[in-house]
């Protein structure tokens, strides 16, 4: 098979774009924590780029994408250590290693999303163990079900770039860890305001930029579907920012910078499953709905008393559900022949049902298996998964990494 250089160039560029999202996420979250925990947050994210990359090469890729298209539950070990992939080209003229690299960046950022939920209180050693186990036991199987031509994809569930695999998967895992870790000391009584919203906005910009690779790159080709996904991504983020700000302004009296950042990310999350399957004004509707719904979802943690520190559940789990379910309404086969028609395009409720099933299955699987990994680490790891009360008070930077984020008084 001859290599298609245009498609290959776009997938390679997209891989770099998606990798850049993880440092972007680190700063998005890093700005929101208190100054004493900024390095702890950055490190949990950067560490993901180290551990997941190595695991992906060793076993992650082959567990997710071995036995591609088998309608099954898990890959195999044919490509352990990327065996036999040097020089391989797939049926579309894409070097397989470009696909491996692209998917690797998804495997990195997905567990990194969870860091926002465990902020300020998880031991670094526990995080290191969790992310290693989670990548293999949760991410790889779910990626196989949906991206690897596994049983959910075979049933007809659609997920263009990872509404279920990435966002619902990470959001459900976040919920499991939130319950196992417990609340931060003093939450919600004490104020824990973001220490640097400029960092958060910078991170949002990087995420938005990188998301073009995430969604438009998921076309795996430089073609019309990629352009549609690019445009949908752009528009949904913008509409969601507006949706969030309108609701926020009505409810609290101010349009905030954190609201603008959060809204844009909520829109990017919701459009992810839909990006290459919808057209027209659908991204405006999907974005605006996601912005408003995710804003309202944030109040749930106060009502039910769980400390979802940086709102991973409200933005990624809820945003992922909104996008995946709305795809059952807005999907339009005229946009992408590999897609399907949703309710609004005469496709009936079949796709909608598959979307709801995929959401429920991924959410349930991730919550349960993440919870089991968490319990094993909590009971088996010397020191458990949570820092001591004293260390929590001092902060993660000093106690986990023997460093200080801001040594301004010493210059």
């Amino acid at each position: 098979m001859e290599i298609n250089s245009g498609d290959t160039a776009w997938v390679l560029a997209s891989s770099a774009l998606v990798l850049f999202m993880t440092p972007g996420l680190a700063f998005f979250y890093g700005g929101m924590v208190r100054a004493k925990n900024v390095l702890g947050m950055l490190m949990q994210n950067f560490f993901a780029m180290g551990i997941v990359t190595v695991l992906w090469v060793l076993v992650g890729y082959t567990l997710a994408f071995g036995r591609f298209g088998d309608a099954g539950w898990l890959g195999n070990l044919d490509f352990v250590g990327l065996k036999d992939l040097t020089g391989a080209v797939d049926a579309n003229g894409l070097p397989v290693l470009a696909f491996v690299a692209f998917q690797m960046t998804f495997a990195i950022i997905t567990p990194a999303l969870i860091t926002g939920a465990v902020a300020d209180r998880m031991r670094f050693a526990a995080w290191a163990g969790f992310i290693a186990l989670w990548s293999i036991l949760v991410y790889a199987p779910v990626a196989h079900w949906v991206f690897g031509g596994g049983w959910l994809a075979d049933r007809g569930a659609l997920d263009f770039a990872g509404g279920t695999v990435v966002h619902i998967n990470a959001g459900a895992a976040a919920m499991a860890l939130i319950l196992l870790l417990g609340k931060r000391r003093g939450w919600p009584r004490d104020a824990m305001p973001p220490h640097s919203l400029p960092f958060t906005l910078l991170g949002t910009g990087i995420l938005w930029f990188g998301w073009f690779g995430f969604n438009a790159g998921s076309a795996l080709a430089a073609n019309a579907v990629a352009a549609q996904a690019f445009m949908n991504t752009f528009v949904a983020a913008a509409a969601a920012m507006l949706g969030w700000l309108v609701v926020e302004r009505i409810k609290t009296g101010h349009a905030t910078t954190l609201g603008a950042a959060s809204g844009a990310v909520a829109g990017l999350v919701a459009i992810t499953p839909c990006a290459g399957f919808v057209g027209g004004l659908a991204p405006v509707a999907i974005g605006a709905i996601a912005g408003a719904v995710c804003y309202l979802a944030i109040s749930l943690k106060f009502r039910f008393g769980y400390d979802d520190s940086l709102d991973v559940v409200a933005v990624h789990l809820v945003g992922g559900i909104v996008g995946s379910v709305l795809l059952g309404l807005f999907a339009d086969a005229a946009v992408n022949e590999a897609g399907a028609d949703g309710v609004f395009f005469g496709g009936g409720w079949g796709l909608f049902g598959e979307q709801v099933l995929a959401v429920a299955v991924v959410m349930g699987f991730s919550f349960v298996v993440s919870g089991i990994i968490g319990v094993v680490l909590k009971t088996g790891l010397p020191g458990g998964i949570r820092v001591s009360e004293e260390d929590e008070e001092v902060g993660l930077d000093l106690t986990q990494h023997a460093e200080t984020g801001y040594a301004l008084e010493r210059v």
């Binding site: 305001p193 609290t252 009296g253 101010h254 905030t256 954190l258 804003y295 944030i298 106060f302």
Partner: protein
Amino acid sequence: MKLIVGIIKPFKVDDVKDAVKDLGVHGLTVSDVQGFGRQRGHTEVYRGAEYTIDFVPKVRVEILVDDGDVDRVAQKLVETARTGKIGDGKVWVVPVENAWRIRTGESGSDAL
């Protein structure tokens, strides 16, 4: 000898400095402080969660003066720092037993 202490709004610092300089005061000390009085704090909202910030930033002004200058300088400080709105701050006077200028060793009024 007396120490005049003022807790004032930060944006009034320059006005106060100029006003007391005109009265012949040779030096003063300022520091950033936080606290609350009748003004209380303010609220900040992050993703819909309201936080009350109890302590308001203020500037503490300290001026060392001769007994005879106390009322004049303190009055000037009060007048200059006033905006008429809540949170203008307070001024009080405390007695000082003695003072030295470190460079020369002079003490008492000569040290001012």
